[in-house]
Symmetry: none
Subunit: 412 residues, 2 copies
Amino acid sequence: MHIDAINPLLEIFSQGEEITRGQIADTNAAWLSQQAVQIGFTVTRHTAVGDKLDDLVALLQEIAQRADCCLCTGGLGPTSDDLTAEAVAKAFNLPLVLDDIAFAQIKQFYANRNRIMPETNAKQALLPQGAERLDNALGTAPGFALKYQGCWFAFMPGVPSEMKQMYLEKLLPNFPQRFTLRPGRLVTLKTIGMGESAIQQVIDAISIPSEVQLGFRAAEDVQIKLLFPCAYPEKALQTLVDAVVNGLKDCVYAIDGLGEETGDLVATIGQLMTAGRHSLAVLETVSQGLLAAKCIGSEWLVSGLYEQSLRRLKQQFGIADDVDDLVAIAKTIAQKIQQQQDVDFALVQLYAEDHHALYDKDKSIAVHSVLLAGDHCYPMVHSIAGSIQRKQKQAAVMSLDVLRRYLLNAPR
Amino acid sequence: MHIDAINPLLEIFSQGEEITRGQIADTNAAWLSQQAVQIGFTVTRHTAVGDKLDDLVALLQEIAQRADCCLCTGGLGPTSDDLTAEAVAKAFNLPLVLDDIAFAQIKQFYANRNRIMPETNAKQALLPQGAERLDNALGTAPGFALKYQGCWFAFMPGVPSEMKQMYLEKLLPNFPQRFTLRPGRLVTLKTIGMGESAIQQVIDAISIPSEVQLGFRAAEDVQIKLLFPCAYPEKALQTLVDAVVNGLKDCVYAIDGLGEETGDLVATIGQLMTAGRHSLAVLETVSQGLLAAKCIGSEWLVSGLYEQSLRRLKQQFGIADDVDDLVAIAKTIAQKIQQQQDVDFALVQLYAEDHHALYDKDKSIAVHSVLLAGDHCYPMVHSIAGSIQRKQKQAAVMSLDVLRRYLLNAPR
């Protein structure tokens, strides 16, 4: 591919027996590769090795011969199987020296938690001579970076949250100074409410030029990724994105890569809720607290309720036991919650209690979500299949999406 | 290390741009590694490369020098970027020859589906001369295996279902004839309530024989892994595990590898709750629904409540606004929940509402968990730091752990 001829070569190196032994999949490598490709690197290789010093040393020396940049994760912890700094010292013939600032930071980390720094943590402040320290905002292990021969190495913690924070804050802003990068442009359409095959059919009806790479990522939402080569005409890009969005309609909840970056579904909802100064209370059944949990840090969610039994729910909200219209029940509950909790919106999730179907991954259940906004009711029903864990996740997201669709179309 | 001297060395090699570009995490590598470790291989390295012929050739030659066995996935498909057979031919200087049986199988695959075999698929029947064909029961691409210098290579499809089927049916049964395998024994201690460094100090005080491999994995819990070599004396194994457990005391919530496998913290609690036919209702603040969400599928959790504001909580439970002893407030709420919900146990989580500290990753908050069981109250306080997401997760786990510790010590 033309793009490879000009892009610097990058390798990913992961350290840890938990990876080579297969206890965890190497999601750090996948995340870092996506990031690196986006900004214009060509990722040529991923390598994972365990906790053997000689393997680590050999690998570092190999990579230094092959790549322009190497992003490394793992092995920076306080325990005896954390060998990265030692391996770097040996591979590149650099002594380890105590970094006073790193040492102070580690002590401070413990002081902030009213704990005494265990002696073993001191070794985390030993960095190869001449390395640039990469501060760890979330944990004790600082990272570090250094150039050896033609390759610039960055060593980061293996804990995904710490690694991501370090990459985004400490590495990403400095790449343009170190490398000549001609990134393609990635546009990501984040959708909710349409399955992957239905999306594929929509896409198939649009002719995507061969130089635009198409990718999918399906998790709780489905993301459609369009990677445009460097210097692709802006107008043609916009036309293609518009065509895809038109096909997917209001299933698209956010688009990355056209300007400001967006967050997840809750972030999209949060912006609308905050702008309208709305407040919300929820009742969950299938999602069992996960909907509220997803809204962590959101001031607009004032309270949540989970109840296992529909019968007990009816009792609690003074509904006669023989009422069995789920939408009517949800509406009554929503009204009482709205009143009791003094909120603008009440979102109630119910399902026809069928434990057999709930636990059976081959059976689907119908989940009703009723949003009460002011004195208007917005009911939706979703059919959800899969394991009970998948049903939980999907129910949380689908009920939240009822709120998003209301906010999107609500009069401002 | 002693164990390595007797275990054959195995590497995992994955081919595909979708892996090097980070579009998918390499779960095949994790799965195959777990399988290989279980039967007695030492997995030394994972490598993933993309669709460049020269990279593939170089990598195959490297691995042939280093490993006794290499399990490879991907690159067997019909398209132009599927280069594995070609790379093997080039790396090991073997011509590609048409395998008649493979060719017939591919044609049959299409015939069974009333489709005509696309011409591009014929190339899937070209195997390196002398290779053993590995039939693919689920797809069109046959795998193949061959020995080059000291290393036995097996090439499998990248589609996980086809790869797994091929490994289990075609490779696993034949390993004992090809390799001398002496599987070790892995004992995993799952702990909660003690940090990684504190655990390291406990372990340091115990003399772990050098032939026992020690590993850690820290996520919401901290797992200590002890890998004993094959034929390690049972009594010595038990003595060592007991010594570690004694050091960690009731922080150990489950042990894998001594008999039946255990689950996570909720599974451990679930066994005790189900055995005692107990029921629980919870009130969450910091964990915001996540505690309830973690208990998905647990009949013993009958209801949950989340409330953002302490002031509103007091109102709701008829507590005077000037009461500010959190444990006293929690106790009163627990009693009312126990009564209203008609449950054996009520678990109440509160914190001194300090939004500044909650949102600040450098500040810690004190989370109070009060368990009311019968008419006895068990309060515990945990200091939790980190991002609001980490505080949420830790609060959920720490409050649940109060319940586990009660159940562990409760009169049966």
